[in-house]
């Protein structure tokens, strides 16, 4: 790997990370909740770019499919099914703005202090070729029980969502 390639990889990672952070901040601070959902979709696109940097190609695609394709669409459905989404006069934050900002800043400083203070192993293991193959084998051999439990959990979530979302008629 020559110098130009190394430099461009580092710059590209920092750019994508910056995009992800900016869209995450937009998703939690914008007044219009619809714009927040769109910023969330953009943040997940940037995050899947970071996954590609980590050679996790399967997870990058699944991230876009599940988060952008399903969860954000579900949230947009919930937003348009409730009323008064775009009014600027509705207060979107509670009274805890300044204390929670201080708490999160302290938490972030603590995280960064710990991450900076830890000595990480500098040697990087070789890239796994074909992550889809390995993940599929792992899911159906080592993690088979968790896989089955996850399918039951999804079934329960499906039935629960249908039951909760149904209009209950009073007799």
């Amino acid at each position: 790997m020559n110098w130009a390639e190394l430099f461009s990889t580092a710059v590209a990672f920092k750019l994508i990370a910056l995009v992800a952070v900016v869209f995450a901040i937009m998703a939690v601070t914008l007044k219009n909740i619809f714009h927040c959902a769109l910023a969330l979709a953009a943040m997940f696109f940037a995050l899947s770019g970071v996954f590609i940097f980590l050679d996790a190609d399967f997870l990058a695609v699944v991230q876009i499919l599940i988060y952008v394709g399903a969860i954000v669409i579900l949230m947009i459905f919930a937003i348009v099914l409730t009323e008064r989404i775009t009014s600027e006069s509705i207060k979107q934050t509670n009274q805890l703005l300044i204390p929670s900002f201080a708490l999160c800043a302290a938490l972030l400083v603590g995280f960064i202090y710990i991450i900076r203070g830890t000595v990480w192993s500098s040697q990087v293991p070789p890239i796994q070729a074909g992550t889809v193959n390995v993940i599929g084998r792992q899911l159906l051999s080592t993690h088979l029980e968790a896989f089955e439990v996850a399918s039951v959990l999804l079934l329960a979530a499906l039935i629960g969502a249908v039951f909760l979302g149904k209009e209950i008629t009073k007799k």
Partner: protein, 102 residues
Amino acid sequence: MTPLSHYLILGAILFAIGIFGVLTRRNAIGILISIEIMLGAVNLNLVAFSRFVETSSLNGQVFAVFVMTVAAGEAAVGLALILALYRSVRAVFADRFNILKW
């Protein structure tokens, strides 16, 4: 190759942003959005450790797949709950959801 600490710091920043959103949002859908940001940050950490610590079994990526599964179920049930609450309270704001009080 970008060092591991950069990925971890990005994950920490996203997690802190998510906590800030959960603490400050009044809109319940906004709280769910912030929770999704936090789950994404956790996924980033898992995938980063999977890449930098041990790549032969990809356990971190399998974990991330499970996190995504649970996140999808959580979003579906959470949004259905918000819609059910909206039908009875006519609001989506978390400080209006006080119907369990007497």
